[in-house]
């Protein structure tokens, strides 16, 4: 039986003959060059995934080595923009991990309700799926009007996309199912208007949201928050950078503030483990306790 070999998508790696140590050197040089020339610091990103993304860009540009990509992006800022998108977009979905949003509604919302005014930070919000998902829960729980939400990302282009609130129409069936599994009781289509192949989400959902550029690698804390969302962002960082960002979150949270990580991210290996209580063990929701 003849079975087609995969879908012909990018190889995601160099030819087998490529020297692994040389490749690591080339990647370090490229990241150093990008940092010094453009100021974007990807030097502490997790190696295997940044490597995979770099090779995808090498292939997409029709090149054959990391060094060639380095020359291209240093001399051509449009190529750098394309690389920046590859390196900084975190793929996600509305109500990704419905169980998380169920836990947010049942275990976190009652705590947020005790504050007269709520400040929330979505750190590394990418194209905004999580910002809108959380806003829908807050709206349904009557908390959106007393919330001030900061959604930040390193990449200006994804922030513009997030702000526009237009998501692919062909994902709405999946997002509707996620919403229902997450405990949503309204009709999900109340929240968007279909237009061409996009779904435009109600601007009312972001009425109290500020979208702004912030770099988790180099920037400092900018306010005190009652809750920080940072789900499936830290997986792209190495351990040292994860620790740095955990220190930023710790400094940015009020006492008893909430930290929500991705469901496969853990404080277990970090030096801040002792500073939080576990609020929801499976969904990795923590509460600052000292």
């Amino acid at each position: 039986m003849a079975v087609p070999l995969n879908d012909g998508s990018a190889l995601d790696g160099p030819p087998v003959s490529y020297d692994g140590d040389l490749e690591r050197l080339e990647i370090e040089l490229l990241l150093e060059g990008v940092f010094r020339h453009y100021g974007f610091d990807f030097r502490s990103y997790a190696y295997a995934s940044i490597r995979r993304r770099l090779w995808k860009r090498v292939e997409a540009e029709g090149l054959s080595s990391i060094s060639e990509l380095q020359a291209l992006v240093l001399h051509d800022s449009a190529a750098m923009d394309r690389l920046l998108l590859d390196l900084s977009i975190n793929v996600t979905a509305m109500f990704r991990d419905p169980d998380f949003y169920r836990a947010f509604r049942s275990d976190v919302v009652p705590l947020l309700r005790t504050y007269p005014f709520i400040r929330i930070w979505h750190a590394g919000c990418s194209t905004g799926e999580e910002v809108y998902s959380a806003a829908i829960v807050l709206e349904e729980e009557g908390l959106l009007d007393r919330a001030r939400i900061y959604a930040t990302d390193i990449n200006d282009r994804v922030l513009k996309q997030a702000k526009a609130g237009i998501f692919p129409l062909n994902r709405m069936q999946e997002y509707t199912e996620n919403y229902i599994r997450a405990g949503g009781e309204r009709s999900f289509s109340e929240y968007y208007t279909a237009m061409y192949d996009g779904a435009l989400f109600s601007p009312a959902l972001t009425r109290n949201t500020v979208f702004s550029q912030h770099n988790l690698v180099t920037d400092r804390s900018f306010s005190e928050f009652h809750m920080v969302f940072c789900r499936n962002v830290l997986i792209y960082f190495d351990r040292a950078l994860q620790d740095r960002v955990h220190s930023l979150f710790y400094d940015s949270l009020v006492m008893f503030g909430i930290l929500a990580l991705g469901s496969k991210e853990s404080l277990r290996f970090s030096q801040y483990e002792d500073c939080y209580q576990i609020l929801h063990v499976k969904e990795r929701i923590y509460r600052k306790s000292k």
Partner: protein, 196 residues
């Protein structure tokens, strides 16, 4: 030849095959194993618990940056890719590859590139072609390529595709695969752990 890590990919029919495979492994087994089983993105954490019943080895679902330790069996979580780095496992939510996340190819390729010839790749039963490209990469780097004998697989498509991509791969029954993996020499760092 000494081995650092084993990676196993399976899809349709995988649960029964994995039950049988794990039950065959001796308690002294020390090669770290990463299992990528295709499953629904909301399937939760049932799988590690089910597989733990078969073995005295520690079966756990991968958290980001989980250290790779000999004698452990790591399960790829639903809806994430697992990338093998030297010493630990990292996660990614990048786009599905050939409609799969976790993708067997992504894990196999990363294992081959991180540990080169120190990798054993195993493709078990499944109804698609995921794993073929990854197994080829493992073989190209000088690692050991093993495929479940298609006539013994609940769904022969995936092992047959892998054999087509890597004609030199060993085609074995589940029992033979477990015996082969149990008798492989381990890389020095793994042997030290065995001694403790």
């Amino acid at each position: 030849m000494a081995y650092d890590i084993g990676v196993i990919g399976t899809s349709w029919g995988g649960l029964a095959a994995l039950h049988q495979f794990l039950a065959e492994l001796p308690r002294s087994f020390r090669l770290p194993i990463v299992i990528v089983q295709h499953r629904h993105k909301e399937s939760g954490q049932l799988l590690p618990g089910l597989l733990q019943e078969d073995t005295g080895l520690c079966v756990c679902e991968v958290d980001d940056k989980t250290p790779i330790v000999g004698g452990n069996v790591y399960i790829a979580p639903a809806n994430y890719h697992v990338l093998v780095e030297r010493g630990h496992l990292a996660l990614s939510t990048d786009e599905p590859v050939a409609f799969s996340r976790p993708s067997i190819d992504v894990t196999f390729v990363s294992a081959a590139d991180a540990y080169r010839k120190g990798v054993v790749g195993v493709v078990l039963t499944g109804a698609n072609a995921d794993g073929s490209r990854g197994l080829k990469r493992i073989a190209d780097h000088g690692g050991l390529a093993i495929v479940q004998r298609p006539d013994t697989a609940e769904s022969p498509t995936m092992p047959a595709a892998a054999l087509q991509a890597v004609p030199g791969a060993q085609a074995l029954t589940i029992r033979e695969i477990a015996a082969t993996l149990s008798s492989l020499p381990l890389a020095p760092v793994r042997q030290q752990r065995t001694g403790t």
